[in-house]
């Protein structure tokens, strides 16, 4: 009985090894072929085109515009426009690095907006510019601090407001 069990176990283990190879190998090879053909198709693209293709032209366009406005050492306040779990603020911070960022909070909740107002009003040494990361894939927006504060003060906590700002390109504070 024990010998039969051992035999069964051995063949089951061998069958699972074979099955693992048989199920994953075709997928791995197919995946490689797809990625290789894609890589050959986009060969010769520069990094700007590649980023625009991957993240969207409007997103990368907005990042480039902010980079032109903010010097490489110039700090900024980063505000989360959407769900803080979405990672949007991380991606914007990465794109704008090496500019140092101060995380100023989230616009998505009334309490967050209140905290944001207090922070920007209280800290006179806060950076001159505010960048809003609205959500994954949505282009970030740049505001001057004073105009951002003004816009923020106009917002009603109970509604889903859209206020016109005086930021570059006439962007608005978009609370999602």
């Amino acid at each position: 009985m024990r010998r039969r069990l051992s035999l069964l176990l051995d063949w089951l283990a061998l069958a699972l090894v074979a099955l693992l190879v048989l199920t994953t190998a075709p997928t791995a090879v197919r995946r490689s072929a797809i990625r290789l053909s894609y890589a050959l198709r986009v060969a010769g693209e520069d990094s700007l085109t590649m980023r625009a293709r991957r993240f969207g032209a409007s997103y990368i366009g907005a990042v480039e515009a902010i980079r032109r406005t903010l010097g490489p050492d110039e700090p900024y306040c980063l505000v989360e426009g959407g769900n803080p779990q979405s990672g949007a603020a991380f991606w914007v911070r990465y794109e704008l690095a090496p500019r140092p960022a101060i995380y100023a909070g989230t616009l998505a909740e009334p309490a967050g907006r209140e905290r944001l107002l207090q922070l920007l009003r209280a800290d006179q040494a806060a950076p001159w510019h505010v960048v809003v990361a609205p959500g994954p894939g949505a282009p970030p927006a740049l505001f001057e601090r004073a105009s951002f504060l003004h816009e923020l003060e106009q917002l009603q906590p109970s509604a889903r407001p859209r206020a016109q700002s005086s930021g570059p390109g006439g962007r608005s504070i978009d609370v999602r």
């Binding site: 997928t27 490689s32 990094s47 990672g87």
Partner: protein
Amino acid sequence: MSVELATGLGGVALFAAPGWALSGCFPALRRLSPLRRFAYAYPLGVVAVAGSLYALSHLCGVPLRPPAVWTICGLPILAGAAAWVVRKRPPPPASQGKARWGVRRWVRRSGGPLPIACAVLAAAAGLGVVAEAVSSPVTDWDGRMTWCVQARYLRHAGTVDAGVLRDRRWWLSNPRYPLLLPVAQVAVLEAFVADQDSHSFRLLYVAFFPALLLLIYDGARRSAGRSAAATGALLAALIPFFSYGDGGAVSTYSDMPLACFFGGGVLLLLGRTPRGAQAATGIAAGLLLAGAVLAKEEGSLLAIFALLLGGFLGAGRQRSVAQRGEPASPRRQPPVRSLAAAAAAAVPVGLALLLFASWRAGVPSRQDVNYLGLLVDGRWWPGVLTHIGESLPALLHGMYNWQHWSLFWWMAPLLLLAGRRALRRPLHRRLLAAAAGPPLVAVAAYALYSRPVFLAVVSWERFLLQAAVPLLIVLAAALRDVAARRLVPVLTRAPGEARS
């Protein structure tokens, strides 16, 4: 993409060449075939180049700029070339007539058709990872949140003590994580004067994938033979998480490098050391484990664990054998040799720990979890009992995710059970103990952290990846045991032989 590819390949050579030269200093590595030597040479090169830059920048204020990068890369290459010229080389063996070359001979020398088929399949799987890395910018979560953003700040400041890291005011994620891999990124970008948005450094991470597969092959080949070793490496190449997962070869996480540093260090410490080369092998293992310390937060614990496992426990086991009066096996290493290798390995590990502590002292914590503080304060009670149970479903969900692991976690326990005779060898038992290291660190973290389920969801599979080298070597040995019992008799049975 062609520029990115050229820069990326140059970046890989930037570490592989000094690593190759450095590996020539260690008899245990020098005698390996070129491919197996690459498995150790590449991670060694990353430790030597990025680790030196890390230390020189922090301790001496050397700027992270092209002159420093090229000098640090050039020195080991020059030293290795000089050593190669000076070293007394044995005369080539007298030729036995004209050497014949043919496909059959090549296949036989390579261990038969199975290892070749495995190598071809693994290469085909790996090509996709390379293609993805050269054709797309960084898109992974931790890469953009932690490692790559850190690299940008370091590159701009030209130092590992960038003001952004040292000033509490600036918003960073995990600023106290060790910086070996971000420094390596900076080295690639600076050496080739690449654009800020260049993603050429992605190949630096991808190159750890073949290193991982070759480490598995090298370790398993010594104890399980070529066919089982090649199958073990192929399994690693085909597990989707190892290639495309968050933390896998295609990402810019530090887990794949850590798996190579830890796995390579453990293999050198546990493997048989050439007579008279204990200290040299120990230093090679120590350098790899120093890489583990400087690559990731948990690397320090894993390096200390490997030292304990490799040296001191090995010596203890040998002593107990001697006390029982059993005859010493000629294949067993005397305890003094295990201790000598571990003591030599402890030197680079100790230096790396000191460097990390010194650098970290200047970086204020932001939102980092202080596990040691939680432990000291006693705030882990009673969570230590309940957290494991809470996170268990998340752990199982990760392991049995078909998209990430396919059948691997169904197969692995069964294969271990079926091939349990392989565990009679002390080397395999100690490798299995080494494989338990990263998951144990993870479980300890879940026990202490206030949100264990969240932490388990985002990190468990990466801890499993860190254990890949010792685990897959043991699985390869188990496979060999089962195959020798069941497959070899069937495959070698004469065509007309009746079934008994």
